[in-house]
């Protein structure tokens, strides 16, 4: 197939989205290979969306078997799949979403070992790791940086969700929204992303009260405290008995990050309590929102159109709101 020509089927299938992002963006998506690690609810939604959009190839890695609980948000599985490898159960259903996309599955986590991961990453255009612990995200992100591959992490903890991305030096086209509406031109933009490791050292000192408040820091620190908890205990909190420890970790993080004290000195206890109870659980509507936002951002990055997330998004399912905090990331330059 001539890479610069779209078939009738592609034109028909992708008509409504090409009208949004243009044929060139579609072309870039079609040429992209995406690595997705772990197939839980967030990945299920993300994969559905990027496969429908028409990426070239998906490589999906998960070593685990389908559990009964996975049926709650995992619509690639059915009852009969319980006990099978997740990736084996899902493969045909993913392929079925869009016959134009190639799907490759890897039923073990060996590729995540340092050496394997580097060579795997070199063969793909973008890496997306879901529902994973933060220590390992730091490690995998660093490997991606060495290979200059854009990196996404995303996941949900009960009603909370997050997306982190490290897109290195990312160039993209975006309408200049600062100019008058009738004279908007597309301009080339560039953004420099920090690693996850550096992002986690972010201090909030520069933000005003209003700027701090807008970012909904409580939900950000709720997620960061879960990462801390998981790092020290090697597990997620799973009940109110963990709430107190989680609260202490959250408040220490808030204090260390020098968050504007008029806005937040302590993460509200009812939020901590609900997070301590629900963190190990996933919920379809939350996965739909986070997986939708995550997939959309991956597509924007591939297309090099529109500004991607910069660089840490949290979603709060209690309100339906999402905010994006620039963790150790300077503002975008032209």
């Amino acid at each position: 197939m001539n890479p610069s020509e779209f078939t009738e089927e592609e034109q028909g299938r992708y008509d409504r989205q090409i009208r949004l992002w243009g044929i060139e963006a579609q072309q870039r998506m079609r040429n992209a290979t995406i690595l997705v690690v772990k197939l839980k609810g967030t990945a299920t939604e993300t994969i559905k969306n990027i496969v429908l959009a028409g990426i070239g190839k998906l490589i999906l890695v998960d070593a685990d078997d389908v559990e009964e609980e996975d049926l709650g948000a995992g619509f690639f599985f059915c009852d009969d799949d319980v006990g099978k490898k997740r990736v084996d159960a899902a493969k045909a259903r993913i392929e079925n979403l869009n016959p134009l996309v190639t799907v490759e599955v890897v039923p073990n986590f060996d590729v995540l070992n340092n050496q394997n991961f580097e060579s795997t990453v070199n063969g793909v255009d973008l890496v997306c790791i879901t529902d994973w612990d933060s220590d390992d995200l730091v490690r995998l992100n660093n490997i991606c940086r060495r290979s200059q591959k854009p990196f996404y992490a995303g996941g949900t903890y009960g009603l909370l969700g997050y997306i982190f991305c490290d897109l290195l030096d990312h160039k993209y086209i975006s309408p200049d929204r600062s100019s008058p509406k009738d004279a908007q031109k597309n301009v080339q933009m560039k953004a420099s992303y920090p690693s996850l490791q550096d992002a986690l050292r972010h201090r909030w000192s520069a933000l005003s009260k209003r700027q701090t408040k807008e970012l909904n820091p409580a939900s950000i620190f709720a997620v960061l405290s879960l990462w801390k908890f998981q790092s020290s205990r090697k597990r997620l909190p799973n009940g109110t008995q963990d709430a107190q420890d989680l609260q202490q970790m959250a408040d220490a993080l808030v204090s260390d990050a020098d968050v504007n004290k008029q806005v937040l000195t302590t993460v509200p206890h009812d939020l901590i309590e609900s997070v301590a109870l629900t963190a190990p659980h996933e919920f379809s509507p939350i996965c739909a929102v986070v997986g939708g936002l995550l997939a959309q951002d991956i597509l924007k990055t591939l297309a090099a159109r529109e500004p991607p997330i910069a660089n840490f998004l949290t979603f709060d399912g209690n309100t339906g709101g999402a905010s994006v905090c620039r963790l150790s990331m300077p503002t975008t330059s032209l």
Binding site: S4, F6, E9, Q11, G12, R13, Y14, D15, R16, Q17, I18, R19, L20, G22, I23, E24, Q27, K48, L52, A53, G54, E68, E69, L71, G72, A73, F75, C78, D79, V82, N96, P99, G158, L159, R177, N186, E214, L277, T278, H281, E282, S284, P285, I286, A288, V289, G291, G292, L293, A295, Q296, E306, F315, T319, G320, G321, A322, S323, V324, C325
Partner: protein
């Protein structure tokens, strides 16, 4: 079918056992199985709702497959509702999904039917159906979660009567429209030529005789509005002289002595333009068009107006793909000669269909290649004559078909947010003191009277928007209170179940207002002179008018219809009879018309009045009405993301009315003489003017008149999308 018990473990942990157990007891109506609908169905099934009704009137198209993930290539042309229900059932064997392949505006989906649901979730793509569902939910007292998407943007809004704004509390923008003369004689933008081809020329050549005639009737309106009389006369003459072209089209075959394409071309691109040019005054201040010439275009020697864009027509890519090597065939701009050739071939194809009697008429359909070719070619030829930039077939399809870009991600996000708001609604009703807060079990009258409503705390509900702002991609704001002047949710709703063949308008109106109890029932032979309504005015509030939708059925000076049956007045099941108080002191009473239960005794009255009768609600002091159909320019985007979108439907350009294909509308063509009689008595103009002059005591009345086209511009060819459109049109199919 049994399913793994662990399936619901996560959801139960997150929702708590009380709310979780409520899911399977709540009947959910999902309206729409398109982009939002497929995502929504998946998410509600996985969340744990098990009693689901899914309604959609559409069938699957190839262009749906990039986002409507329950559908496959092999499903194209099958009903969306049935296909989606089957596919989503596999996500949770506990779920029972009842698909309906139908129109939400059909009469069986009346107020009683809506009352059977605990919550309604809208996944619609057009304003008309949204407004309809909003009104039905307000009437039935069922909470509604409204939604819409367009491209990267979208929004979700929970609506509860008396507690929050309703969909119509904030006016929605009406589609942009163009003056008749801009379309017919002085186009200056590509869209003007596209509207002309699609709405005018298509009808003149391939439509019914009446459609061809309509080309002159819109001119009557224009003349009334004081547009140039001489110009109108020319246009009228032009519209009348299509007979020869129509005849050639309908007798076309390959051996035809007369080529209908050439005859049509000579008329519309040469003779008609020469005719307009003869009015030299018109072209004093604007560049005159240049008549096109068939033979010189074919041989390449034609010299026209603006040679840069329109005529040389470089075959570069268009718009955003400028400079790119990646081009789809339809994105190439055609040269003048290519446009002429396309015009000829498309006229031949369409003529062959008509002359073979395969069909009697052909309308524009963006998915019908011949009609799209015709509109592309004809609009580009007209553009060439007027020195306007040409458009590619790809662009014309979007502009003529009102296509709104749509992607899976936005729909998935919005669907997740809809379910979260639906859960907030359920949680609120759980915590209310009344155990019967579930709308499905509330009695029909309690919901209409704020006084008797259980106090439910809806403060957790949020209006959520996807927005461009990088730091807050999902904005979540508290809901606003109802607009005190809303012409929909401030009305008082009630319901009369009746046999429409035996129930008169008087039975309904007097019965609901409680007048029938007060007076002897011996005055049923009124002959138009009677002032029954006004004469019995004992309390000073009897000056009423009665409407069905926008039709006036009675007013204080005209009660001929009171003793006619609902059936003879064509007031069907599912319709509302609106009782409007002329002095403006009371809110309008909307009487939903339902069916008698099968157990109703045959010798009893053929109707069941609500018990207790609805309490009239005093209007707020302000006389400033905000009728839903008259949007002022919108300033705040935040609150009022305009939710319109008609993806597949030609919402504007056809004629502003629904074509019945989408959830849009099924117009009652058999409209009884009621309105016409009234208008001929009184004069439509008078009615309109007096309504306006008196400052509109009744929002409903003004709205009705406006919808009727008496105030607003209406008619063929007066709408379209403009490039510099500044409203965000939100929607989703």
């Amino acid at each position: 079918m049994s399913t793994a018990p662990g399936r619901t473990k996560h959801a139960e942990a997150i929702l708590g056992p009380k709310l979780h157990s409520r899911l399977s007891q709540t009947k959910v109506l999902v309206v729409g199985a398109g982009g939002i609908g497929c995502e929504l169905l998946k998410t509600i099934v996985l969340t744990g709702f098990t009693q689901i009704t899914l309604l959609d009137l559409d069938t699957i198209d190839l262009s749906n497959l990039n986002r409507q993930f329950l559908f496959r290539t092999k499903d194209v042309k099958k009903p969306k509702s049935i296909t989606a229900a089957r596919a989503a059932s596999s996500f949770n064997p506990n779920a029972k999904i009842t698909p309906i392949f139908g129109n939400i505006k059909d009469e069986e989906y009346d107020v009683n039917w809506f009352k059977g649901f605990g919550v309604v979730l809208n996944a619609l793509d057009n304003l008309d159906a949204r407004r309809h569902v909003n009104k039905m939910c307000m009437a039935a007292g069922v909470p509604l979660v409204e939604s819409g998407t367009a491209g990267y943007l979208g929004q979700v809004q929970p609506l509860v009567k008396d507690a929050t704004e309703c969909f119509d509390c904030i006016p929605k923008p009406t589609p942009k429209s163009f003056p008749v003369c801009t379309i017919r004689s002085t186009p200056s933008q590509p869209i003007h030529c596209i509207v002309w081809s699609k709405s005018y020329l298509m009808g003149q050549l391939f439509g019914t005789d009446e459609e061809a005639g309509a080309g002159t009737s819109e001119l009557d309106e224009a003349e009334k509005n004081g547009e140039n009389a001489e110009e109108i006369a020319k246009l009228r003459q032009e519209a009348r002289s299509f007979a020869r072209v129509r005849a050639a089209i309908r007798s076309y075959n390959v051996n035809s002595p007369e080529d209908p394409a050439k005859i049509a071309f000579e008329k519309v691109f040469k003779a008609d333009i020469e005719n307009l040019l003869s009015m030299s005054d018109m072209w004093k201040h604007r560049a005159p068009p240049v008549p096109l010439d068939y033979d010189t275009i074919i041989n390449g020697s034609f010299v026209g107006v603006d040679s840069s864009q329109a005529l040389n027509g470089t075959t570069g890519a268009s718009g955003q793909t400028n400079g790119s090597k990646v081009v789809m065939k339809d994105q190439k701009k055609l040269t003048l000669k290519e446009n002429l050739e396309l015009f000829v071939s498309s006229v031949h194809s369409l003529s062959a269909r008509l002359s073979s009697n395969e069909v009697q008429t052909i309308e524009f359909d963006k998915d019908d290649e011949d009609t799209l070719d015709f509109v592309t070619a004809a609009s580009n030829l007209r553009s060439a004559a007027y020195g306007i930039e040409g458009k590619s077939k790809w662009e014309v399809k979007e502009m003529a078909g009102n296509i709104i870009p749509a992607i899976a991600t936005t729909n998935a996000i919005i669907a997740g947010l809809i379910v979260l708001q639906a859960l907030n609604l359920l949680r609120a009703s759980l915590s209310s003191p009344s155990p019967s807060a579930s709308a499905s079990s509330s009695s029909q009258d309690a919901i209409h009277d704020p006084g008797t409503q259980p106090k439910v705390d809806y403060s957790s509900l949020r209006n959520v928007h996807i927005q461009i702002k990088p730091s807050v991609p999902l904005s979540s704001v508290k809901l606003s209170s109802p607009n005190p002047n809303c012409g929909i949710c401030r009305d008082t709703y009630t319901l009369v179940n009746c046999d429409r063949t035996r129930t008169t308008l008087r039975d309904i109106v007097h019965g609901v207002l409680g007048w029938s109890k007060q007076k002897a029932n011996g005055n049923s032979q009124l002959n138009g002179q009677g002032n029954d309504v006004a004469d019995n005015d004992e309390e000073g509030d009897r000056e009423i008018s009665v409407y069905e939708d926008k039709r006036i059925l009675a007013d204080p000076d005209w009660d001929d219809n009171l003793d006619r049956t609902l059936e003879s007045l064509n007031v069907g099941r599912g319709k509302f009879i609106s009782i409007v108080h002329e002095d403006g002191a009371w809110e309008t009473v909307q009487v939903g018309i339902g069916e008698l239960p099968p157990t109703h005794p045959p010798n009893a009255d053929p109707y069941i009045l609500p018990s207790p009768l609805p309490k009239l609600v005093k209007k707020p002091k302000s006389k400033q009405s905000v009728p839903p159909s008259t949007p002022p320019p919108r300033t705040s985007l935040k609150r009022s993301l305009p939710v319109d979108n008609d993806n597949d439907d030609v919402l504007v350009i056809d004629d502003g009315e629904n074509d019945g294909k989408k959830a849009g509308a099924r117009d009652t063509n058999g409209e009884p003489a009621a309105k016409k009689a009234k208008m001929s008595n009184d004069g439509a103009g008078n009615t309109k003017n007096s309504a306006n002059a008196t400052g509109l005591t009744s929002p409903s009345k003004k709205r009705k008149l406006e919808e009727d086209g008496l105030v607003m511009m209406d008619g063929p060819g007066e709408g379209g999308m403009d490039e510099d459109e500044d409203v965000i049109i939100i929607d989703e199919d």
